[in-house]
Structure formats: C-alpha cells, structure tokens
Amino acid sequence: MLFNSFEFLIFFPVVVIMYFLLPFRFRWVLLLAASYFFYMSWKMEYALLLAGSTLVDYYAALRMEALLERAQRKKWLILSLCSNLGILAVFKYSDFFYSNVVDVANAMGSDVEFNALKLLLPVGISFYTFQTLSYSIDVYRGMKAEKHLGKFALYVSFFPQLVAGPIERASRLLPQFGTAFHFHDERVKEGLKQMLWGLFKKIVIADRLAVIVNMAYNDTGSYEGSTLLLATYCFAIQIYCDFSGYSDIAIGAAKVMGYDLMDNFKVPYLSRSIREFWSRWHISLSTWFRDYLYIPLGGNKVVRWRWYYNLFIVFVVSGFWHGANWTFIIWGALHGLYLVGGILLGDNKAPKKGQWWRILLTFHLVLLAWVFFRANHVSDAFEVLQKIVGGDWNKSVLMGLVNEVGASYFAISMGILLLFLVADPLMDKLIKKQYTIQRSWINYGLYAVIFTMIMLFGHFGEIEFIYFQF
C-alpha cells in the first residue's frame, strides 16, 4: 500500500478515526495491527521477517539488560547484529556477493556461471533492520529495554515510517507510545498540511520528472550530453522530492495521531558544503551512521589519517546500505572523498551566509555523485559523464526527448519545477512552523492551490517511492 494510492486514502482516515475513538490502553493494538496490515499489503510473507527480527531483538535486549557482565551482554548484541545483518546479507546482498565472486573466479581463469538467486527484496528491510539494530546497540550501551512486546513490535513496525524512515531511535519513539495523545485540531491540521505538501512533491514534481529521467537513464546510449545533463538535473530534484515527499507524508501522518518523528530533510540543496549537505539530507540515516559507526570507529578523536579513513569508510558503507551495486558504492565513496577533500582544503567550519558560489559548487558535486546513484551500471555512469564533459552535445537529440515526452508535458513540468524551486524553502519553513501565515484565508487558499495542482498536474499511476527499493 503506497502513500500515493487510493487504498491509503481509505486506510489512513479509518485508522485515525478508530485511534481517537479507542481508549488509550488499546491504541497500541490498533496501531500494531494496522502496521502489519499495511506491510502485508505488499506481500504476506514479508511480515514473518519483520516479526522474526522483532522477536530476536526484543529477547536479546531483555537478556542484555538482565546481564551485568559486559562480555555476556556482548554475546546477545552479536546475536542481534548477526540476525539483522544476516537478513540483509541474504535478501539484499547475496546476489551481489555471488556475482562478484563469480566475476573474480572467471578473471582467474575458471569457467563458473552466475545463476542469480533472485530473492525478492522485502520492502523497507534496510530501514527497519537499522531501526532495531540501533535499539539493540542502545540497550547494550545502557538504555533500558522495553518490556512490553506489543509496544516494542509497534516501534519496529510503526506504519508511517516503516518502509522508508525516518529511522527513529527507541529513546525518542518508544516513550511516545506510552503517552495518551488527545485529539488536537491544530496538530491534526499541521499533519494533514505536511502530508499534502509531501504528496505534491511526490506526485507533481518527482513522478513527472521521473518520465524524463527514466527515458534518458534507461537508454544512455541513445542520448547525448545535453539531454543526459538535463536528465541528471531532473534526477537531483526527483530524488529530493520523492524522498523528502515520502518523509513529509510519514511525519505528517504520525503527527495527525500525535507522534513526533524526526526531521529528515532541511532544504539540502541550499547547503554551502558537503558537510552541511549531510546535516540536511536523510538526517535520520546520517545521524545513525554517525552514532553507530563513525563514533565507534573513533570519529575525529584519532590520528588524522585514521579520521579521514573513518569518514571515507562510513560513506562507502552508507552507499552499500543503499543498494547492492557498485554504482551505490562509488556514490558513497565520492561523498567520502568530498568530505575528506573539504577538510584538507580547510573547509572545516560552518560557512558564512550569502556565499552563493558555494551553494552552486556543493550542488554540482552532489549532482556528479547522483550520476552514479541513478545509473543502472557503472559503465552507464561513465558514459553519461563522458558525454556531458566530452562535448557530445546535439540539440536535435534533446528535442527528440522533449517530443517523446510531449512538448507540452515537458514545458508544464519545467514550469512547475521552477515554481517549486522558489516555493520549497518557504514551504519548508511553513511546514516546520518557523514561519506562519496569519490570515486564515491565505492559509486555506495556499493548500487549496496545492490540492488543485496535485489533481490537475499530478502524474498518477501509483509509482513507487525510490527509497522503497532500499
């Protein structure tokens, strides 16, 4: 069940109405049942993995809390790590490892054939395994374990953020399940507005741009530099609107019911450095890696070369987390290099405001890395870069793509995109209540316009969110 589907349009209000009608002590049951129903709408069997992961981590945490000796607690932590990472390794990475072993063996002269296992990747697996992992590590470090199995299961499966985050920490979300939220009209309205804005970003911007991006990137050989450059710019906006749109819907949906999920995006393309970019993009993942990988590796409290190594390795792992493909690893490695490069160039302090050239530079460094993120193969990414940089530009091919997409469709998409680029920073402030509109008729009008834009210019057809594949 996608957020941008008719089913969710029915499912969500039903859950919310039942939620506020039920006495507080039964609400967790409703939310848990709704969350599993939501997840099983993709595939029933997926729920078994989710439940399995939940049970292992619940029990391991209780054991860790009960044991005083660090060495014994570590055994339970290792069990939790192995089970969660094991699930990921089998379902997400087995074919990747297998194909690379076969490639290496063949390079060494053997004649092995690669027969992909083609295991179906359970949706959201990378998100909920990381969420439960953080819980196990926190309990190992001294946080109290959750005794209530139902509430813990809800923490792992809470439907607004189950399939693509934000990856919540137990210390933030679990206590909220113990709080009796009453119906609060202002909060419900805030949540609904955020959901509407998220839908706009997904359906009107991301899915319209996806038509152009997919056409170019799924057939890189047929297009020349200017078309591929345009497609890459479009992808940068597409992935931002797709993922931040999802996050807005998730955060908004939770807010309607009273829950406060963490911010995941803060207008990242206005960053003045890569360091700043990572404090504004997919914040729940970057802080996860900071707390559970970067700092345990030593962070910056080590010798200089080791600090650079720590930064680099964290981003390589982050790339690999995204997908079992060399394209993602290179994407992560590039960001690692950018950060290390930034430090070497003395870019270690927060940049001053108003340095627009830095925003442009940062955006284009990010854009370069997006080429690898979006390309289907590493060779495609290099082909794209070669054509863009090598001057293989041909106006007629670009016009060919415009005609194929439809000239008016293309023109409208670009028009809405320009409007969005201006409106997004303001909307971000409005959604996060850093700015308020005093006159209620302007408020009504604004969201009525957003609704109308979705209905008139939305690219419908229940297109999945990009991050669902991770």
Binding site: F183, Y444, T452, F460
Partner: protein, 310 residues
C-alpha cells in the same frame, strides 16, 4: 475542538473542490490551436471522438442483435459484422481500444441483455488481463453514451486520472468532436487491409503478469453473463506464430478455470489456424481484412455446428 475542526474541514474541502473544478473548467474550455488546454497537461486525457464515440453513437440500445462482440482491438478489428450479416446474423461490435475486463464488465451491464443479444462473443487475450485498465477507461469515459457506465468504470478503477476524465466528459458534453477515425466502417468495426508492415519478432519469453483487478472482473463478467442468462462464447482470436507460448499457456489456464466455473465455452484460435504471419496480419497481433475474412467464416461455421448460432 472537534466541531471547529469539522467546520474548518468542510470549508477547506469546499474551497479546494471549487478551485479544482473551476480550474478544470477553465482548462477544458480555453483552447489553443483548436485543442482545449487540459489535453496539454497530461497524456491520460482521451480526446473526444474516434471509433469509440462513433460506434456508441451508432449502437441502437433498443434494437435486437444476433451477435454482439466485446473486447479490445482484437475484437473491433477481428470480428467483421458485415461477414456475420452476409451469413444472416445482425451483428454489432462493441470492442474498443485496449478494452480491459473491467471495462467489458461495465459495458456488458449497460449494453448487453438477453433480450438484445442472441450470442455475445467475449474476445480475450493476454494484454487486457495484464493492463491497469486506464487507457481504455479514459477512452470509454470520454466517448460512450452512458453516464452510468462511465461513472461505474471511473469508480471501479480507483484512479485520479479516471476521475479527471469523468469531469472532462461532463465539461465536454456539448463540445464538437476533436477527430474521427477513417478506419471505422460502421457497426462497430474498424477495417485494415494492409498486410504486415513490420517484421514480427519472436516474443521474449516472459511470464503472464495478470492484474488482480482484471482477473476479478473477468470472473464478474462471466458471472454476470451466467446469472442473466446471456448466451455467450469466450474466444481468443488467431495470433501470429511468434506469440509467447509460455505466457499463452498460463493465460489459457486462467481462462479455462473461469470458463469451466461458469460453464462458458472457450474457443482458443491463437495457434489453431492456418493463417500466415505476412498475409493475414497487419502487425504483431492484429488480423488484417484477409485474415478477418478467413477467421470469421470459420468461426461462424463452428458456432453454427456447436448450436451457439442458429
């Protein structure tokens, strides 16, 4: 607090709906180059006119037909009412472009009754079962005569594009046609005399990806036929030899299961023919007029032998 929320919700919904419908009206009224602007906003809007509009305008709901045909382009290009008429059967072809099972069901409910049809031919093949139904719904919602059937399809599809299409139908009620189809020859049939224009490549061996909604509506259609005592036959018309055999076998298992359940005869001519790829087809899965002639003549004979036609 709840009352205030409810009132504000109603006010917002009213403002938002008024703005949406008002903007839609403006876009469907203001024209550029003779075409309403709304068509420029999305590919999903089907133009008013074409074979679908012409055939449903021509179809006489009060008349009695010997044979009616439902289905996609296989149907409206593959069953020629003139050939049936030459054999003494008054026939009308209700097939439309990409017509999915969902569409066939609502068309059957609106236009096919035991009193106006002695035999209903339901043409089926793989593509309509795999489709989401949007393309055909867009065409039908814009062009059929029945508001009820158009609304039913819109609601059944659960897609904003279909809702927009229905709104466009309402706003273009009194507007002239935007185009007509030259291949349309009347009685619901579109003729193509060309021989195969392109080389038919062997199909890639893919599996059937049946859309659950369409499978559900195939069953609903067969149940409707049975419960209303409509005499019907399910037909899969001839295909070039290059068709994907594995997918076809899967499809047949699905159709056979449902036709058996509702005691409907299923005649599969996909491979069961002596037509050749070049002379009797005009593309990778449509018969040309020479192919239609041979196929229809044979079909009529077999339907007579099996007492499905008098």
């Amino acid at each position: 607090m709840l009352k205030r929320f409810f009132i504000q919700g109603v006010v917002f919904a009213t403002v938002a709906l008024a703005l949406y419908m008002g903007s839609f009206w403006v876009l469907s009224t203001v024209e550029h180059g003779g075409i309403p602007l709304i068509y420029r906003t999305s590919e999903a809007y089907h133009w008013k006119g074409g074979a679908t509009f012409q055939k449903y305008e021509e179809f006489d709901e009060t008349a009695s037909y010997d044979v009616l045909v439902l289905g996609s382009s296989h149907a409206y290009r593959g069953y020629d009412p003139r050939i049936f008429e030459a054999n003494g059967y008054r026939t009308f072809n209700l097939g439309t472009s990409a017509q999915s099972l969902l569409n066939s069901y609502y068309l059957a409910k609106q236009y096919v009754h035991p009193n106006n049809c002695k035999l209903l031919i339901v043409d089926v093949f793989e593509i309509p079962v795999e489709s989401d139904g949007m393309e055909a719904t867009s065409d039908l919602v814009q062009n059929i005569t029945s508001n009820r059937a158009a609304l039913d399809m819109t609601m059944a599809l659960k897609d904003i594009r279909a809702i927009n299409m229905y709104l466009l139908r309402m706003f273009s009620k009194n507007k002239p046609l935007l185009y007509t189809d030259d291949a349309y020859v009347g009685q619901g049939f579109s003729e193509n005399t060309d021989s195969l224009a392109t080389v038919v490549k062997p199909s890639v061996d893919t599996l059937l990806e049946a859309n659950e909604l369409q499978v559900c509506y195939m069953e609903k259609l067969f149940r409707y036929i049975k419960e209303n005592g409509i005499n019907a036959v399910v037909v899969n018309h001839p295909a070039p030899s290059t068709i994907n055999a594995q997918k076809h076998a899967q499809f047949n298992r699905l159709v056979e299961r449902l036709t058996r359940k509702y005691h409907l005869p299923y005649k599969d001519y996909t491979h069961n023919h002596s037509l050749n790829n070049h002379d009797h087809f005009f593309d990778h899965n449509h018969l040309n007029q020479a192919g239609v002639h041979i196929f229809n003549t044979r079909l009529i004979q077999e339907l007579q032998q099996e007492k499905l036609l008098p």
